[in-house]
């Protein structure tokens, strides 16, 4: 069961803040983050990695990018 975060249209640091909030709320599992800028993609991936999560998948979806991060 993965949680989904829609950070499209939001500029940094919002996508990172939303991702970190979710990471704090769950101890592990899978989180999908939808972003629409390369900067947000890089920042979310960097933030997740720094929290010990792995970036499992990055898939383009139309104008957006779905980042799947995983732990445990």
């Amino acid at each position: 069961m993965s949680t989904k975060i829609d950070a499209r249209g939001l500029s940094c640091p919002q996508p990172v803040l939303m991702t970190l909030d979710e990471i704090k709320a769950v101890s592990g599992g899978e989180i999908e983050v939808l972003v629409d800028t390369e900067t947000a993609k890089e920042n979310v991936s960097r933030a997740a990695t720094s929290q010990g999560w792995e970036v499992a998948d990055v898939a383009e979806e139309g104008d957006a990018v779905r980042i799947t991060i995983r732990k445990g």
């Binding site: 499209r8 500029s11 640091p13 900067t39």
Partner: protein
Amino acid sequence: MRLKNVFASWGGIIGVGLLIGILAPLLQKWGNPGNMGICVACFERDIAGALGLHRAGVVQYIRPEIIGFVLGSLIAAYLFKEFRPRLGSAPIVRFVLGAFAMIGALVFLGCPWRAALRLAGGDGNAILGILGLIFGIWIGTLFLKNGYNLGRTQATDTAAGWMLPLMMLGLLALLIIFPQIEGQDKNGVLFYSLKGPGAMHAPLLISLVIGLTVGFLAQRSRFCTMGAIRDFLLFRQTHLLMGFVALICAAFVTNLILGQFHPGFEGQPVAHTMHVWNFAGMALAGLAFALAGGCPGRQLFLSGEGDGDAAVFVLGMIVGAAFAHNFGLASSPKGVGPYGIPAVIIGIVVCLFIGFTMRKRSTP
């Protein structure tokens, strides 16, 4: 999948910071004012003066570096398929934040870029400015932690994303059609400075090429002086901070080599020694940049990527510069302007109002 962006790595951001730190003192050597190889706020203020939006005779010049920043970022964004026209995230709020960011920066006499370059040139007053900047950004992070948000952007037409880049091309055309004539303070529609910082500039081509280079690399690396401090305070992330620190270190060493390092507080170029207002001016600027999501350089680079909201912030800064000089808000080497202190207080109140009222919305 797209190619991995090498500039998004640690090496990338540090490399870009080092390069800017070398190029800025060189621009000073080639003609730009003291500790002002690059200053986004000062240069936008000079553009406002050249267009006659304010009539402070000593600060009037269409700075090619600013044009280069936007167009260099535009080129990078197109090359790497990152040009994405977008707008609609509270543009009027961004305009107001831009105006007050400029007013705060002109009370200190420099944006975060110049604060770093002033420090690297030995100007002790910059310490107060940088402390103020950190304080202002820290206030901004408190708002961010409590749900402050300017809302989502919408995708828009390509033409909208081109507006600021086109304005920059227009400014470049004016600069070429109406070049500076020796001893004259006006040619055609453009005003020029005969003395003061506005009269000091590197040759057009050098300024433009360096501007384009920095714009290109900063777009790739997401270089941001405000983000450097914000990300550290907010997430303890040091990625952008490494770039900012690299800039200061490289500028310090380059200044030493070029004989441009002069430590002290008194008599520094385009600077004053009113510590409280150096701190408070930059605190206002830092808060406004944090609430708008980027330092003045980053706002130019985002504009080049098609971000119409960042473009509105830039226009706010230019209008803010006009007010700053028309109303006597801007400082001079003698000290703060006659109305600089109330302007800083009003600016902080306005930013706090924005910070407390713009909240997270539940619907996307």
